[in-house]
């Protein structure tokens, strides 16, 4: 995976670079999804970061909780009914105590679903090709285009420089 990128010290400059590249995508005929922004920490309040915001993990967590609770209910109820011990007239499937197991299973379902949704949503694990640069650890933000067409590289370089980059680099060559 080849990436043409530049590093920006400020998130405002990174946002300008993203806007420039996005505007150029229709003109230069490349997919805006090829634009990548990599940083050493999250940046809230910038469009390049917030465009990935989604509420779906919350919904998945609720669904996972429901599945967990259902499993807990079935585990306790079906197992107790499968071995009907003498309870002296008391309930064979007591809601109070079974509720504790159901509660824990609800929580476990939500936790495991959140983990899976994170891994799927963040596309992890991914050991194929990591886009990185040592300067990211110093707080700089990488903005680039993944697998850019060969003929567009000079034009993309100039657009990245217009946004304030002092140097344009390539990785994965």
């Amino acid at each position: 995976m080849k990436t043409l990128y530049a590093l920006y010290a400020e998130p405002d400059a990174a946002q300008r670079a993203v806007d420039t590249l996005r505007a150029a995508s229709s003109e230069l005929k490349f997919d805006p999804k090829q634009i990548v922004v990599v940083s050493g920490e999250p940046h809230e309040g910038y469009e390049f970061a917030d465009e990935h915001a989604t509420g779906s993990p919350y919904r998945w967590a609720v669904l996972g909780a429901a599945v967990g609770g259902t499993c807990g209910f079935l585990l306790t109820t079906l197992s107790q009914k499968s071995y009907p011990i003498l309870t002296g007239g008391m309930s064979l499937t007591p809601a109070w105590t079974n509720g504790i197991i159901v509660y824990e299973m609800i929580m476990l379902g939500a936790i495991l679903t959140t983990l899976v949704v994170l891994l799927v949503g963040a596309r992890l694990p991914n050991f194929k090709g990591v886009i990185t640069d040592p300067e990211i650890s110093t707080g700089k933000i990488l903005v680039g285009v993944v697998d850019p067409p060969e003929n567009l590289q000079p034009e993309l370089e100039s657009r990245l420089r217009q946004a304030g980059a002092s140097a344009v680099k390539q990785s994965g060559i």
Binding site: P11, V36, V37, V38, S39, G40, E41, P42, H43, E44, G45, F48, A49, E51, H52, A53, T54, P57, Y58, A61, L75, T76, S79, Q80, S82, Y83, P94, T97, N98, I100, I101, Y103, E104, M105, M107, L108, A110, I111, L112, T114, L115, V117, L118, L119, G121, A122, R123, L124, P125, N126, F127, K128, V130, I131, T132, P134, I136, S137, T138, G139
Partner: protein, 464 residues
Amino acid sequence: MEKTAEQIEHDLLWPLFHTSGKYWIAVAFATSLLLAGVAAFGYQLYAGIGVWGLNSPVFWAFDITNFVFWIGISHAGTLISAILRLTNATWRRPVTRCAEAITVFSVLIGAIIPLCHIGRPWLGFWMIPYPNQRHIWPNFRSPLAWDFFAISTYLTGSTTFLYLPTIPDFAAVRDASNGLRRKIYGVLALGWQGTQRQWQRLEIAMHIMAIVIIPVAVSVHTIVSWDFAMTPVPMWHSSIFGPYFVAGAIFSGIAALILAMALLRKLLHLEEYLEPIHFENLGKLLLTMSLLWFYFTFAERLTAWYGNSPPEMAVFWESIRKQFAPLFWIMVFCNFIIPVPILAIKRLRTITGTAIASCTVVVGMWLERFLIVVPSLEHKFLPYSWGTYKPTWVEVTLMVSSFGFMLLLYLLFSKVVPMISIWELKVGLQPHFRVRTEPTAEHKRPRGRQGVALPGPLPTDVAE
């Protein structure tokens, strides 16, 4: 002085690549304690559980005390970290990982203790809910089965809660290292790049986890308290036990966290990150919990005394005036009389002061657990069954070695994972973040990552 992102990364990765002599001494000390415990446990396996001081009617003693104690300590981390995350407390950043690590290791130790207690640990899998040869499932009406579910859920949740925010830091270590270390950290980082999609997903996942883990943490210690409260034993069968145990757990957990932070500060040279403000803030929390602990203890004892039921009064007087009185009053001194003045007087609420108060609280809370378990079992409802209990060297060794095990796990963890979240500290450096989270009146004197005033004003465009 405000640090740059580069300095933060350098300082926090430094302990992973350099090891001091003090660190190895601490590891050797912890390992020796653990080995002593392994030897004692080996002897117990060889000779049988009769080498413990347990007898009829005292079937639970040191082991269950340790179990309750370590599950309680686990409340330090995840619960505090989750609350601070949800309330967006900016001073939390250097604290959260230290706290979350305590949770995972203490739950792990807590979960091991019942395996020792059953005497035949190889049959521990009987607690797992699957039908055995006679198609009998575990008894879901039993608090011990609830324990299995609660502790498993909590261990899974707190491990996830610790691991998720560590992924970007694993990637930072990967990028700063080479050879085999790079490969190992590459696997641990799962190929993390730091794309905006990944950051967004991680932050949402952490938010969900923080919401979920709080009720799980509360439920775990409530269920541990129900191991006692569901039993018709004097002074146990009480509705106050749930909140009493949860409050006690948070109390002992904060104390353990302060001690761990003080230790790490010295061993890993994190003085510039774990600052007095963090100890002061945690000291205030510890003070609150000390007062709450006293309130619960008083309420519990007052209710028993006022009821004047002979079986309960037998336990009551045993613990206050007779056999267990020295332990009881040491507990009161350690949990209330010593820490409250230290933590209430601002001049004494220093790093040393909070560490001393925390030491006494840890001792006091262990005694509290012991005094809940043993006096009641010695004096059950029927006087003919009364008995006495004396711990043996095996139990004492296992108890001491559990502390060594905790110390060892924590020290080893600090060598493989940055003990302060690098990326979260970097977030605290962002001017945008400061403006968004700090009060407007303070923008002229912006606050840094740990709530300490920074030397200069914000850039003009940001301050406007």
